[in-house]
Every structure is written in structure tokens, then in C-alpha cells.
Symmetry: C2
Subunit: 137 residues, 2 copies
């Protein structure tokens, strides 16, 4: 990405962000006045057995089954980075970051059979989840 | 984005995710074997005056000053969505989501003069921050 497009991408328009994030074709820039909200769903999982590499791998396997749900526009499965400052929360085992076009799409995801099956099959692995849902400021 | 490209984008390769996220040209798909890590930095701010719309707007103004830092590959400023379940944390005022290419770039951002200036000028607004740094699982 060149400097110019990066800066456009980082502009305040939510729609421009979507263009950058989802790799839409440049012609869509024409419709930038059509501001679109972005729904960010970030889930952090604490495992019942935090030292079990097998349980962590199993949870990641489960999250991978969700990626086929078509409402998801971007998915990232993460683990804590090596950064370590007092404000950094490092106790979770796995993070699950999703972008949706809007809250309605997220609601469809929540009730999607594949998601419900994931909860049924894998929820015994986690002790706690914290979810942060955010939309454009 | 068509269905095929979306599914590729959601594949397990971190590099493919980067292609999708940062809108790189399709020719870069050829280098998909060059796996690249993604560094996700998500900060949640609790305000000293949580009911002050002015303070919230000021913090958002401050975050916007950071967007010019060139190590940032994607930035999103968020506020809590309307979703409301027991696992959802809704007490924060503003969220700040950044993607970096790697931890080193994030480290540069932390010490960047523009970032230090932001902390100096705006930190009196917040009571608490929680940071989640995550890398590819």
C-alpha cells in the first residue's frame, strides 16, 4: 500500500476504513459519502486449564470452524503478545477478533447454527469470556 | 469482495489475512508462503468523567492525532455497541484498535513522539486503560 492510500485508509470515514480492511475495489471510493458503520467484536477466552496446550489448541480448532460463517468480514485468532506493561492484560489464553458490517450481521452470527454448535462443543474449555463490542465513535 | 476471495481471506494463513486487511494487490498472493505475523493492539479507555460527552470527544480528538504514525496499518476508534449480554463489557468509553506488522513496529509506535505527546496531553482524561496485545495463534 503506498503512502497516499494508507493515509486515505486511515481517514475518519468509516467507509474508507472498510475499503481498506476488506480490500474492496477502488471504484467503491466513489461512494465514500455513503458512510457505513463497522462492528468490531473482540472476545477474550480464559481457559479452565490455562496451562493445557491441548485445550488451547482445541479452542483454536473450534474457532476455526466459525470462519465459514458468511457474515464475518474479517477474523483473527490471537494469543497474548510478548509485551508486558502494567496496563496489559495477559491472562487470557486466546482472543477472537471479528469485523462485521453492522450489528444485525453480528446478531445473525450469534444465532448461526455453526456458532451455537461451537458453544455446545467447546464451552467446557473456558472458565471466563469477556466480550467487547464496539462501533465507530 | 466475492465469495471465493472472502473465503481465501478467512483462511488460516496470516499472510492471506494481511492481504485482505490491508488491501494489497492480488499479485502478492503469490508470496503467501512468506507467513507474516500480525500484531493486534486493542486499548479500552475508562474516563474519569464517564458521563462527560466533552471529555469523550476530547479523547477521540486525541486518538485521531495518532493516526498519522506510519507504523499503524489499520486504526479503528470505537464506542460500546448496543449489544448487552452478561459477558459483554460495556463500561469503557472509547476503544482504540490498531494493527501493526509486528511487535517491533508497535514498539516504535509506543515511543513515537506523537504518541508520547498524546499521553502527555490527554491522559488526565482517563481513569483506567486495559490493553490487549495479541499475535497470531
Amino acid at each position: 500500500m503506498n503512502k497516499l492510500s494508507r493515509r486515505s485508509f486511515l481517514g475518519s470515514s468509516a467507509f474508507l476504513s472498510l475499503v481498506g480492511v476488506f480490500g474492496l475495489v477502488p471504484s467503491l471510493y466513489k461512494t465514500r459519502q455513503k458512510k457505513k458503520n463497522m462492528f468490531v467484536h473482540h472476545v477474550y477466552f480464559w481457559l479452565k486449564n490455562p496451562d493445557s496446550a491441548a485445550d488451547k489448541a482445541k479452542l483454536i480448532e473450534g474457532l476455526n470452524t466459525l470462519k465459514g460463517i458468511k457474515q464475518i468480514k474479517m477474523a483473527h485468532i490471537g494469543v497474548p503478545a510478548n509485551t508486558n506493561r502494567s496496563v496489559i492484560e495477559r491472562g487470557y489464553a486466546v482472543s477472537w477478533l471479528l469485523f462485521f458490517d453492522n450489528q444485525q450481521e453480528q446478531d445473525v452470527y450469534q444465532e448461526h447454527p455453526v456458532h451455537l454448535k461451537f458453544v455446545e462443543n467447546y464451552s467446557q474449555l473456558w472458565e471466563k469470556v469477556i466480550v467487547y463490542d464496539s462501533v465507530d465513535a
